[in-house]
C-alpha cells in the first residue's frame, strides 16, 4: 500500500478556507503532493469508481482496459460469465501487460516472462518455477514456499447495478448502494432500470485542468443557461425551469434535475443581452425531442458520482462520462454514449443526432472544457487566491431551484472531511 503523505506537504499555508467551503483555495487544484493524496483517498480507498458498462463485455472472455485514478485496470467477463476487475500490472515485474483497449481472451499472459493468469486474476503458471534440469541437476527455480495464491493480479471488489460496473481497490468499501445513498440512487436507477444497454460509441478528450473541475461543472446549475446559448434558447436548461438539486448524506454525489420549460424569450431570465433571441435552426432535427416513459417527468438529470463519473440524461441523449486524472493539471474525459435494447431505429438515430450537443465538439459541451482550461491557467498563476461559490449563500442543502452553487460547497465539505482524516 502507498505510504500516507505527510500532512505538512499539503501546502497548508495556502489552504486558507473562508466561510465554510464557499471560497475554494486555488491550491486545491495545484499541488502535486495533494493530488497524490487525493488519488489515494478518493480513487483507491473507500470509494467505488466507474469502470464501464456490462454491454461493453457481453461475451465470456471479453475485456476492456480502463483506469481508476491513475492505475490501469481491466474489466473482464470470465468464462463462467462472472465480471471481474483486475489491475493491469503483472505480479512479477509490474508490467502493464494488457495493451489492447478491448478484446477477447482465454487468459492474461504477461509477455515479459510469460506469467499466466486466469481472467479472474489468479496466477496459473510461472515458467521455470521448478527450475531447469541440466546434466541431471535442477538449476534455479522459484523458492519451495512460492505460493501461487499470494501472487495473482490485484483483484478489485466489483459492484454491478443496472448494467453499470463499479470497482474498488478497497475490499472494505461499503456496499455500492450505501455509497451512493438513497436520494441519488433513485436517479441512478431511473436511468439504469435493468434494460439491456446498447453501446453507441466513444468520445475521448484530454482537458488541461484539475479533475475536480469537471465534477464542479456538473454540480453547477448556474452556468448552463449562461455559457450554453442553446440551453436557454431552446428551453432545455434555464433558470426558470422547474428544478431540484439533490445530494447524498455526505454531499459528495448529486443529481441536478430539471424539467424543460419555455423555449423562446430569454432576456427576462438571464438578464444578459447577448443572447440570441431569434436563433433558429436551419435543421431542427438536432432537437427532435421525443419524451420517453422512463423519464417520469424530468427532461434532464445530470448525476455526479464522486469521484469518477457523470451520468448524463439530456432529453434523448444518454451517456456516461468517466473522469481519469493524469497529474493535478490534466484529466481524460471518456464519453460512452448508449441506448437501450428496445430503442426503435428512429430513437437510435435521434440519440445520435442529439449527441451533437454533447462531447468534445458538442454545441453545449465543447465550451465546458474550454472554461475549465482557463480556470486552471489562473490557478497555476495565482496559487494563494480562491474561487467564489456563493450563489445561494454559503450553506449546503438540497434546493428546489437551480440558482445556487450549493452542490459545489457540499462537495468541498466532503473533500475537507476526507482530506483531514
Amino acid at each position: 500500500m502507498n505510504a500516507p503523505i505527510p500532512r505538512a506537504e499539503l501546502a497548508a499555508s495556502t489552504m486558507n478556507w473562508e466561510r465554510g467551503t464557499s471560497r475554494i483555495p486555488f491550491a486545491v487544484y495545484n499541488d502535486p503532493a495533494l493530488h497524490k493524496q487525493e488519488l489515494q483517498r478518493f480513487f483507491y480507498e473507500r470509494h467505488w469508481c466507474y469502470v464501464g458498462l456490462e454491454a461493453e463485455i457481453p461475451k465470456p472472455g471479453d475485456y476492456k482496459r480502463t483506469e481508476i485514478g491513475e492505475r490501469s485496470v481491466i474489466l473482464v467477463r470470465a468464462l463462467d460469465g462472472a465480471i471481474h476487475v483486475v489491475e493491469n500490472a503483472c505480479a512479477h515485474r509490474g508490467v502493464a501487460f494488457c495493451r489492447a483497449r478491448h478484446g477477447n481472451a482465454q487468459a492474461f499472459v504477461c509477455p515479459y516472462h510469460q506469467w499466466n493468469y486466469a481472467l479472474d486474476g489468479r496466477l496459473r503458471g510461472v515458467p521455470m518455477r521448478h527450475g531447469v534440469k541440466r546434466d541431471g541437476v535442477v538449476q534455479g527455480g522459484m523458492p519451495a514456499d512460492f505460493n501461487f495464491a499470494d501472487h495473482g493480479l490485484t483483484r478489485l471488489k466489483v459492484a454491478v447495478r443496472g448494467g453499470v460496473v463499479f470497482a474498488s481497490f478497497d475490499h472494505d468499501v461499503e456496499a455500492f448502494e450505501d455509497f451512493v445513498g438513497p436520494a441519488v440512487l433513485r436517479y441512478f436507477d431511473r436511468l439504469f432500470d435493468g434494460r439491456q444497454l446498447k453501446i453507441l460509441g466513444y468520445n475521448r478528450q484530454r482537458i488541461p485542468g484539475n479533475w475536480k473541475l469537471m465534477q464542479e461543472n456538473i454540480k453547477d446549475p448556474y452556468h448552463p443557461g449562461l455559457l450554453h446559448t442553446w440551453f436557454v434558447t431552446f428551453g432545455l436548461w434555464r433558470a426558470d425551469n422547474r428544478a431540484r438539486m439533490v445530494m447524498d448524506g455526505h454531499h459528495r454525489h448529486a443529481a441536478m434535475i430539471s424539467t424543460r420549460g419555455n423555449a423562446g424569450a430569454v432576456s427576462e431570465v438571464s438578464r444578459v443581452s447577448s443572447f440570441k433571441q431569434a436563433m433558429n435552426l436551419h435543421d431542427p432535427r438536432f432537437l427532435d425531442i421525443v419524451p420517453e416513459a422512463w423519464w417520469n417527468g424530468p427532461t434532464a438529470v445530470m448525476t455526479t458520482l464522486f469521484p469518477s463519473v457523470i451520468l448524463q440524461q439530456q432529453v434523448n441523449s444518454v451517456s456516461t462520462r468517466q473522469i481519469v486524472p493524469d497529474g493535478h493539471g490534466h484529466f481524460d474525459f471518456v464519453w460512452t454514449h448508449f441506448g437501450f435494447e428496445d430503442d426503435t431505429p428512429e430513437m437510435t438515430r435521434r440519440r445520435l443526432r442529439q449527441a451533437n450537443l454533447f462531447g468534445p465538439a458538442g454545441f453545449v459541451s465543447a465550451d465546458d472544457g474550454e472554461v475549465i482550461e482557463f480556470s486552471q491557467e489562473t490557478f497555476e498563476a495565482k496559487p494563494a487566491h480562491r474561487t467564489l461559490a456563493e450563489l445561494g449563500g454559503d450553506e449546503v442543502a438540497d434546493t428546489d431551484h437551480m440558482v445556487t452553487e450549493t452542490l459545489i460547497r457540499g462537495m468541498y465539505r466532503y473533500w475537507r472531511e476526507v482530506m483531514a482524516r
Binding site: R204, D283, F286
Partner: protein, 160 residues
C-alpha cells in the same frame, strides 16, 4: 487503381480538395457548407468507433442546414479559445468512379496554432468521401473524417 476518371474531372477533384482546405483554414465558415450537397453527410468520427461498427461520431451532420447551424454556432454561441487550423492533405485516392460520382479517400493532418502559442499536431486521419457532379461543379455528398487522434486535445470547435 481500378477506377477511371477523365483528366478534366481529376483536375476538378484536386481543385475541390485544395479549395476546401483553403476555405476551412481561412476560417470562412459561411462558405464551408457550400462545398456540400443539400442532403450531404458530414461526420468526424474516432477511428475506434469506425472500426468497431459503433455509429457515434464526434460531429454528425445530415444536411447542409446542419452545417450552417454549426457555422452559426462557431461564430455566435460556442465560447472558445480561438485557433488557426492548417490542413495538409495527401493526394486523393480514387476508390471508385461512376458517371459523375467518385468515391475518394485522402490522408490528412491538421495542425492547430492557438494565439501566441506553439503549433501542435491537432488531428490526423483520413477522409472517406463521395463527390458528385452538380450543375455548380463538384460537391461533397459525403465527407467522413476518420481520425486516428482519438484523444482530442480539449475540444473541437471548427470543422476539419
Amino acid at each position: 487503381m481500378s477506377a477511371a476518371i477523365g483528366f478534366e474531372d481529376w483536375q476538378a477533384l484536386i481543385q475541390l480538395y485544395a479549395d476546401y482546405a483553403g476555405t476551412v483554414d481561412a476560417g470562412h465558415w459561411e462558405q464551408w457548407p457550400e462545398f456540400f450537397t443539400d442532403d450531404c453527410v458530414y461526420r468526424v468520427q474516432p477511428r475506434e468507433n469506425h472500426e468497431r461498427g459503433f455509429p457515434l461520431a464526434t460531429l454528425s451532420f445530415e444536411s447542409k442546414g446542419m452545417l450552417k447551424d454549426r457555422a452559426y454556432g462557431i461564430r455566435e454561441t460556442l465560447f472558445h479559445d480561438p485557433y488557426y487550423q492548417r490542413h495538409v492533405v495527401g493526394l486523393p485516392r480514387l476508390l471508385r468512379a461512376d458517371e459523375g460520382r467518385y468515391e475518394v479517400e485522402a490522408n490528412y493532418a491538421v495542425f492547430r496554432t492557438k494565439l501566441s502559442q506553439l503549433t501542435t499536431v491537432y488531428n490526423v486521419g483520413r477522409s472517406l468521401d463521395v463527390v458528385v457532379r452538380m450543375p455548380a461543379g463538384l460537391k461533397f455528398a459525403r465527407r467522413e473524417f476518420i481520425y486516428d487522434s482519438e484523444m482530442i486535445p480539449n475540444s473541437m470547435i471548427y470543422p476539419l
